[in-house]
Symmetry: C2
Subunit: 100 residues, 2 copies
DNA sequence: TCTTCAATTTACTATATTATGATATGATAA
DNA sequence: TTATCATATCATAATATAGTAAATTGAAGA
């Protein structure tokens, strides 16, 4: 096992990839299945450039992958840890205690 | 349930609280049980000021709590989601595939 | 080839985060 | 009260992140 310090850097970068409201919304969309960029823009009302940059960050951290079909790029979540963490976050923040 | 946008902001802030190598190391220490600030400084070799700021951030996001005993403050993790996420992260990043 | 569509990259600015040094607080002992 | 220990806060500078506009790439149809 790598030493803690080194792991801490890797894990922190991974978490930074998730720690943005726009990227979380993107991941919520992708959690229900593969989507192309236009669909993601429609679903989140984000600017196209901004979407592209956030997708780029998600790719960089190996959180999502994409495949090209003609001119269209389809993105999907390719990370088991991400799905597990989203599950924890959903139960913690979206299901309970929403009435404060 | 709150709308996604609002939840996304809250969750992103929570994740930002975790997304720093120093804070992850602090949480690794606290995962084994309550520790005071001096112990955390010794264990992580961080500067005192830096430690204090990171603990402050962790408190702000309700990730840790503390209790005072005389002059000494004891910190501990007070968040079930944090422990679950750390567990996922540990399995993903610290146990497997460490030999790349 | 020329044009257009889908998406990315680049450049720039605004804002947020982090590290560091100096100072302050709160609790206790002398 | 004064000194000291444990810790927090403040100020500042360096760095990272995010948003926006303009330019670029890659694929496909006219």
């Amino acid at each position: 096992m790598k030493d803690m310090q080194e792991n801490a850097n890797i894990v922190a970068n991974f978490l930074k990839g998730l720690a943005n409201p726009h990227r979380l919304l993107i991941l919520c969309e992708l959690a229900t299945g593969e989507k192309n960029v236009s669909e993601l823009i429609d679903a989140t009302s984000m600017a196209q450039t901004s979407m592209s940059q956030h997708l780029s960050k998600l790719k960089e951290e190996n959180i999502v992958v994409f495949r090209r079909e003609h001119r269209t790029l389809f993105y999907s979540i390719d990370n088991d840890a991400v799905l597990k963490i989203m599950d924890v976050l959903y139960h913690e923040f979206c299901e309970k205690g929403d009435d404060k």
